[in-house]
């Protein structure tokens, strides 16, 4: 199975330098080293950041800060680690007193609803008692989709009527959160493109309504980003962050061949960390983000030709 092999891949690459970098270790030609790294970084969707890193590497080589071309890969890996830290110690900031609210946002089809289900499973494993809000009142059968997951997970799902306003659903869900014994609310929202102003202000409104009942909520606003996203990723994160400040990214669909390198730009430019990764369509295909594993996989050359 795809997923299993990816997970095997992750552990296999752990603590060892990847194939390409190892190969480069013996290569002293600066030009070849830089070109190989360039291709690796760009095809992983790292984008313009790749160029600035490679320029930096070259000048460090000239100034002697990097001893020889064969040291470049190690230097690069360190630089990337600095840009993309682990989420420490817990990926989720829970409310100190009272219940916690997590808001899940993203563009259409990025994997929000599935990620909500995965997040709920993770919370259950952490010993929490989650509650779900189906605030995608726009897309056909979106509520049904989430409710199927909530049944499978055995958690309550707050849903509005067919025509309800998403903010009203969020409001009802907060009220339910305060009156039930649930301690975390996860809100699924409709997919929206960051270029649609009215839909972005709808998100603002949802956040505002939540605050009325729970002033320090949402405790986390998580952007679900498809790992296949290219350079538009940063623009997505920027615009979503402008309407509801983002606390983290859930990087979905890493079980494909895309490397998800665009999150490096998001972390560097906007300071928004990656908190979880999605590795498949089932609720267990979900892991807390680990920077080292992620970068190992990122710098692994394309497995398929």
């Amino acid at each position: 199975m795809v997923l299993a092999s990816f997970k095997r891949g992750l552990t296999r690459t752990r603590n060892r330098i990847s194939h390409a970098l190892r190969k480069l270790g013996g290569d002293t030609s600066t030009q070849v080293t830089l070109e190989t790294l360039e291709e690796l970084l760009y095809t992983a969707d790292v984008g313009p950041l790749a160029e600035s890193l490679l320029i930096e590497a070259e000048s460090k080589l000239q100034s002697g800060d990097i001893g020889s071309p064969s040291d470049i890969p190690a230097w690069l890996q360190n630089s990337l680690r600095e840009i993309l830290p682990d989420s420490n110690p817990s990926p989720i900031r829970f409310a100190e007193i009272g219940p916690t609210v997590l808001l899940v946002v993203g563009v259409n089809g990025s994997g929000k609803t599935t990620s909500v289900a995965k997040l709920v499973r993770w919370l259950q494993e952490q010993g929490r008692r989650p509650l779900i809000a189906a605030a995608d009142t726009f897309r056909a059968a979106a509520v049904e989709q989430l409710c199927i997951w909530s049944e499978r997970l055995g958690v309550e799902c707050v849903r509005g009527s067919d025509t309800s306003d998403p903010a009203a659903v969020a409001h009802d869900a907060c009220a339910r959160l305060l009156s039930s014994d649930a301690d975390v609310l996860v809100i699924d929202t409709a997919g929206r493109l960051h270029t649609q102003k009215n839909l972005m202000s709808e998100l603002e409104k949802i956040a505002r309504i939540i605050k009325r009942q729970i002033p320090d909520a949402p405790h986390e606003t998580l952007l679900v980003m498809d790992a296949t996203t290219g350079q538009n990723a940063i623009q997505q994160a920027r615009r979503f962050g402008e309407s509801t400040p983002l606390s983290g990214v859930i990087l979905s669909k890493l079980d494909g061949t895309a490397k998800g390198g665009a999150v490096l730009g998001i972390s560097r430019e906007l300071g928004v960390p990656v908190k979880f990764i999605g590795l498949g369509e089932q609720v267990d295909d979900f892991e807390v983000f680990n920077s080292e594993e992620f970068l190992e996989a990122l710098l692994e050359p394309q497995s398929v030709e």
Partner: protein, 464 residues
């Protein structure tokens, strides 16, 4: 659409406009910048590399032939040639000789937008081709995917063939039975929605292959998210190997992604872009028109200028200036384009027109003109040189032919635009005179709002 991409090239190339020769260093710098623009637009690394290599080779070849590098114009010309080659395709968006019913299969990665696109495409076929279309819900994987298509069908009054997912119900079975129903009930077309899948998931790729074998579609489209990065090439190739794609449908084009991935897929797989999804509404599907794009690319540098021009036009001061010029009958093609662009930019055309003196007469015209037709006019004007835009009277037969070639349209379309333009110029002039002679604006607008006073633009439906 794809405007962002062409604009970023335009900006790069603009630096090299102007007289004089380019030094080899300058050429190198231009190549680097173009490559960067391509990569930032999500064009695949290898495609970008080949592109710049090809341009470099061409330029070197010219130099070797002893002609020398004749400066910026030539470099830009070479870039343009290669770019239009990259973006051009002649294939029709629908298969040429489909069976009855015509069978279309949609495939793609998870979350690409297949289900929404299936409904949009059905609506499009019903509207544009007057077809009786059956949708088939073959995504039995994602929770409530069948529900989603059934709900969309109800909303749009489109029939959907569906079965309740369960043991023994397979996507190929559903496809087969949908097809049978379509045959007995005399449908013109069947659109098969399928589950999202990863190209490296052998099991699921086998499943869709079985659907394809069972339904033998006339065309299989890969539905591709326009925000996709470098991986697009990888997944598209795998889908193409398994299913033999007919074309691509690019979704979420209402975002601000530059869409370079789609160009790379086109370049590497040779499959054309067939349709574009441009919004969440069921009507937001367009046929892709590569001529239009190529026409634009041919004069990219000026796009930047025109966009800026349109922005200027938004300023009150500029507006009044334009009007006084127009009233004297000195309307130029460039003005016309600016006005259109400005209006397009400002969204609700009719409302805006109501607020603007002298533009009332155009509201009817704009009413009957959608963005597509506007873009045809735009492509024609963009194929003119700046000088021609200011002096349309220069446009003789051979110039008109060149323009038609440049924008990929018939000479007759160019002629028609020019005729309409002259009509409009006359009207503006007489309007200006009347204004001077003190007649009330209201009567003026009445006069120009009269049916029949509307110039006919190419592509604008007649008799409205």
């Amino acid at each position: 659409m794809l405007e962002n991409l062409t604009q970023s090239f335009g900006r790069v190339l603009d630096r090299f406009r102007g007289p004089g020769k380019l030094s080899p260093e300058e050429i190198q710098a231009a190549l680097r910048d173009v490559r960067r623009a391509l990569l930032e637009a999500d064009v695949h690394f290898k495609v970008a590399k080949e592109f710049t290599n090809r341009v470099a080779e061409k330029l070197e070849g010219e130099a070797k032939l002893g002609r020398g590098i004749q400066g910026s114009q030539q470099a830009i010309h070479t870039f343009h040639q290669e770019l239009s080659r990259l973006m051009h395709s002649k294939e029709a968006s629908l298969p040429a000789n489909p069976g009855h019913p015509m069978v279309l299969l949609l495939a793609g990665l998870q979350g690409a937008g297949k289900t929404t696109t299936a409904a949009k495409l059905a609506l499009w076929l019903r509207k544009r081709k007057n077809s009786k279309v059956l949708l088939a819900a073959c995504d039995l994987q994602r929770p409530a995917a069948v529900d989603q298509l059934v709900t969309l069908g109800k909303q749009l009054d489109l029939p959907v063939y569906s079965e309740t997912p369960g043991p023994g119900v397979t996507p190929e079975g559903v496809a087969q039975r949908a097809l049978e129903q379509a045959k007995t009930q005399r449908y013109d077309a069947v659109i098969l929605d399928s589950a999202g899948r990863l190209h490296i998931d052998d099991e699921l790729m086998g499943e869709i292959q079985a659907v394809s074998k069972a339904a033998s579609p006339d065309a299989t489209y890969l539905v591709l998210d326009s925000m996709t990065g470098q991986d697009a090439v990888e997944s598209a190739q795998r889908f193409n190997d398994t299913l033999e794609l007919y074309g691509l449908i690019l979704t979420k084009m209402d975002g601000d992604a530059r869409g370079g991935a789609a160009l790379s897929v086109r370049e590497i797989s040779g499959k054309p872009i067939s349709f574009l999804g441009t919004g969440e509404k069921p009507g937001d599907l367009e046929e892709f028109d590569s001529d239009r794009l190529a026409g634009r690319i041919l004069d990219m540098g000026d796009i930047v200028g025109l966009v800026e021009g349109a922005q200027d036009a938004l300023q009150e001061e500029q507006e009044t200036k334009d009007y006084s010029k127009m009233m004297e009958g000195k309307l130029t093609m460039a003005d016309l384009l600016d006005q259109f662009r400005m209006l397009k930019k400002m969204g609700s055309m009719k409302k805006v027109l109501g607020m603007m003196p002298g533009m009332g007469k155009m509201s009817g015209l704009l009413d009957s003109m959608d963005d597509r037709q506007f873009s045809r006019i735009e492509a024609i004007v963009l194929s003119m040189t700046p000088k021609e835009r200011l002096h349309p009277e220069l446009l003789d037969g051979s110039r008109r032919k060149r323009i038609a070639r440049g924008c990929g349209q018939e000479v007759s379309a160019v002629n028609q635009l020019l005729r309409s333009f002259q009509d409009m110029q006359k009207q503006m002039k007489s309007m200006g005179k009347m204004m001077k002679s003190g007649r009330s604006k209201k009567r003026l607008l009445q006069q120009f709002g009269r049916p029949g006073s509307m110039p006919n633009f190419p592509g604008a439906p007649k008799g409205r």
